[in-house]
């Protein structure tokens, strides 16, 4: 499903991006920490329906519905015990 289909307060995990999303946008999201399996929560939409406010890793940002449709997610909860981290897999050295 896409990010645009979430309800207020619902959390989902990022799966990937549709090809239609321009590369700079994808990189911006990754810089914000929206990576595969990162939880993203829909906060609410604006009174007139657009744009929609989301939260990822404690950062709040807004997207128009048209762009939110290009972000693929799957429903799922956060990993227990961690409030805003993605499940880290290996790679702890700097």
């Amino acid at each position: 499903m896409s990010l645009a289909e979430l309800h207020d307060g619902q959390t989902a995990l990022l799966e990937g991006y549709e090809p239609g999303l321009p590369a700079p946008w994808r990189r911006r999201f990754e810089d914000l920490g929206l990576l595969p399996d990162t939880p993203v929560r829909r906060v609410r939409r604006a009174p007139l329906g657009d744009p929609i406010a989301f939260e990822v890793r404690g950062t709040f940002f807004c997207l128009r519905r048209a762009q939110a449709r290009l972000v693929r997610v799957r429903l799922g909860r956060r990993a227990p015990g961690r409030s805003s981290q993605s499940p880290a897999r290996g790679c702890r050295g700097a």
Binding site: G33, P36, V43, G58, F60, C62, S84, Q85, R89, G90
Partner: protein, 636 residues
């Protein structure tokens, strides 16, 4: 050692951080008021540089534009990346990097830090919003954090002034900062975030809770009903300040100018010198300085709303409505600033990513009713609109003023819509805006910004407007009529009027009469109009010179406009339809050299300023002609 080499010895420190990370507060704290703002060469990106206010060999400090990562997309990010990588297009490479870690978004800041460490320059960090960490359940172990990150870290709480002296000391010792010791090369985003996450866990205890305070506030601010209600309430306060609060200050300054004018009249013998000083200088500059208080109040409110984080929410709420005109939410903030003055409004369009959106916003910003129109509106409404109650508490003059504001705003909206459909078509750009956490305002930042604004404004009053006022005065008084003699000498008022008609300005005004006859303007109004093309405020002082000269006895410009009669024909000097047409003209015409100058700078050419000037002048003419026709027909 040459000065340039000495300067290089002292070093250049660059502040690097994500947007909204408290970088500005830190920059202000590091440099005090020793900073200067310019543009990077060839682009419309602001360059903020200053000198460290600490130590006896202070380095220069540059505040780079905010970055999320080292791959740049926007013009600001391109400049920042260029400087950091030392490509040399926008200035020299820094000697050392001071990274701002945002305590309210640590992982993100640390992910950026990891990329910055790859650059191989001496690096240190300042942890801003350090109080947020404890507030969210973490423990602030600075030594552990330093150790894990591999850089020195100084915690600060900007708005409380905590840690700023230590930050300055840290910056002064940049030569002792270690080079990054990395075991791996550049990491991708996932790896950087994993690195950051591990460090947060180890150095700060359990992972931090979310910022519940901002979320609780947003439950109301972004609520479908309460949100717009709050927004409208804030807008009402904003505009009420224009109408009400600044008035006592404005009146006070006007009284002062009049008193000074009276003193000049008493001190100097009547004649050209006294007239120049009183009419040209005092009334000209005074008309402008009188509403400095109002501009300051408006800017204070805007800066305050921005500092606490509300303007991003306003952009979020207004995005859909802006979309109807082909614009986006950020444009709303730029247009709101234009109610104070179009110049900073136009400058604030720099954050708008779409070039078409940005240009459209810049071109319609002058249609928003800026403060400079207010004295003209107040004068004409005060002269011609009777102070009668219209709908309960609403009075006619207030309603008239409100209609003018609404006319300007809706016209701006309509013009943007038209532009986006015709000249400036382009894809509807994606909209993205970050909603920063709500923060206590840092009044120091606001004060610095307001001082800057005030300085620019007073400088403009002192040069452009004073210059035009004096120049207009000269044109109105030269050449001199031969003094009439004998019993047939006309009264003083008639003589003064005839002198002005005879002067250079009067002749130009008369020559323009065919052009403006459909608006009901005569040579007198034309002269005022010409002067006001440079700056709207000039209109008031010019009208004062022209109409004041023909009044008798106790002089009130409003009364002079209303009751003044042509000495020869006995007809009203400013008939009501002409006054209304003049108001309509002022709603649309672009009468501000500062606006033209900033448009030229921001669009890198004269094409768009020329277009804006001609289009708005034409609209003003049409609006004035229509108004005159309608008013004359209705009043017959």
């Amino acid at each position: 050692m040459t000065p340039a080499a000495a300067e290089r010895e002292l070093g250049l420190l660059a502040l690097v951080g994500t947007p909204n990370s408290g970088k500005t507060t830190l920059f202000n704290a590091l440099t005090g008021l020793r900073q200067k703002v310019a543009n990077y060469p060839g682009v419309t990106v602001e360059k903020k540089e200053g000198r460290l206010a600490f130590g006896d060999r202070p380095p220069r400090v540059v505040d780079l534009p905010g970055l999320y990562g080292l791959e740049a997309h926007t013009p600001e990010e391109i400049v920042a990346e260029d400087v950091l990588r030392g490509r040399g297009r926008f200035g020299e490479r820094p000697s050392a990097l001071l990274v701002v870690l945002d305590g309210s978004a640590l992982e993100r800041s640390m992910a950026l830090l990891r990329s910055v460490l790859d650059l191989g320059l001496p690096t240190a960090a300042v942890l801003t919003m350090a109080d947020e960490i404890k507030a969210r359940g973490g423990r602030l172990d600075i030594e552990a954090l330093s150790r894990e990150l591999g850089v020195r870290v100084v915690p600060v709480v900007g708005h409380k002034g905590i840690g700023l002296e230590e930050a300055r000391a840290l910056a002064a010792g940049w030569r002792t900062w270690p080079l990054p010791a990395l075991t791996k090369g550049p990491l991708g985003p996932a790896e950087r975030y994993a690195w950051a996450g591990g460090i947060v866990e180890r150095a700060l205890g359990a992972a931090l809770r979310e910022d519940s305070r901002s979320q609780r506030i947003d439950r109301w601010v972004l609520h479908p009903v309460a949100g717009p209600a709050l927004f409208l309430a804030l807008m009402t306060v904003f505009f009420q300040s224009i109408f009400t609060w600044a008035k006592p200050a404005m009146d006070g300054l006007t009284r002062l100018t009049d008193a000074l004018g009276g003193a000049v009249e008493r001190a100097l013998p009547p004649g050209l010198a006294a007239s120049l000083l009183k009419d040209g200088v005092l009334h000209g500059a005074g008309a402008v300085l009188a509403f400095l208080p109002q501009i300051l109040i408006l800017f204070f409110m805007l800066l305050l709303l921005e500092d606490i984080g509300y303007l991003a929410r306003a952009a979020f709420l207004m995005d859909r409505i802006m979309g109807w005109a082909g614009l986006q939410g950020r444009c709303f903030v730029a247009l709101l600033s234009s109610y104070a003055c179009a110049v900073p409004g136009i400058l604030s369009t720099r954050g708008i990513p779409s070039p078409e959106d940005r240009l459209a916003t810049m071109l319609v910003a002058p249609l928003m009713t800026c403060s400079a129109r207010l004295p003209v509106y107040a004068l004409l409404i005060g002269a011609f609109v009777p102070d009668r109650a219209v709908l309960g508490p609403l009075r006619a003059p207030g309603l008239a003023l409100l209609s003018l504001y609404l006319l300007g705003s809706f016209s701006a909206f309509g013009a943007a819509w038209l532009l986006r459909r015709t000249l400036l078509t382009g894809d509807i750009t994606p909209f993205y805006i970050e909603l920063p956490p709500y923060r206590f305002p840092t009044l120091g930042n606001i004060a610095v910004a307001m001082l800057d604004r005030a300085r620019i404004f007073v400088r403009r009053a002192g040069t452009v407007i004073l210059g035009v006022s004096v120049f207009t005065w000269v044109l109105l008084n030269v050449p001199r009529l031969a003094p009439a003699s004998g019993d047939a000498a006309p009264p003083a008022a008639a003589r003064a009027d005839r002198q002005m008609r005879y002067s250079l300005a009067g002749r130009v005004g008369a020559a323009l009469e065919p052009v403006f006859r459909p608006l009901g303007f005569d040579w007198r109004i034309n002269v005022a109009l010409l002067g006001s093309l440079v700056a709207r405020e000039v209109a008031v002082s010019t009208l004062g010179q022209i109409y004041g000269a023909t009044a008798e006895g106790g002089w009130d410009l409003r009364q002079a406009l209303r009751d003044g009669r042509d000495p020869e024909t006995g007809r009203p000097l400013m008939p009501l339809p002409a006054a209304l047409a003049l108001l309509a003209f002022f709603v649309y015409a672009l009468q501000c050299v500062s606006t033209l100058a900033v448009l030229r700078r921001e669009t890198n050419g004269w094409r768009w300023p020329a277009f804006a000037f001609s289009a708005m002048l034409a609209c003003g003419w049409v609006a004035g002609a229509l108004t005159h026709w309608a008013a004359a027909a209705l009043l017959r």
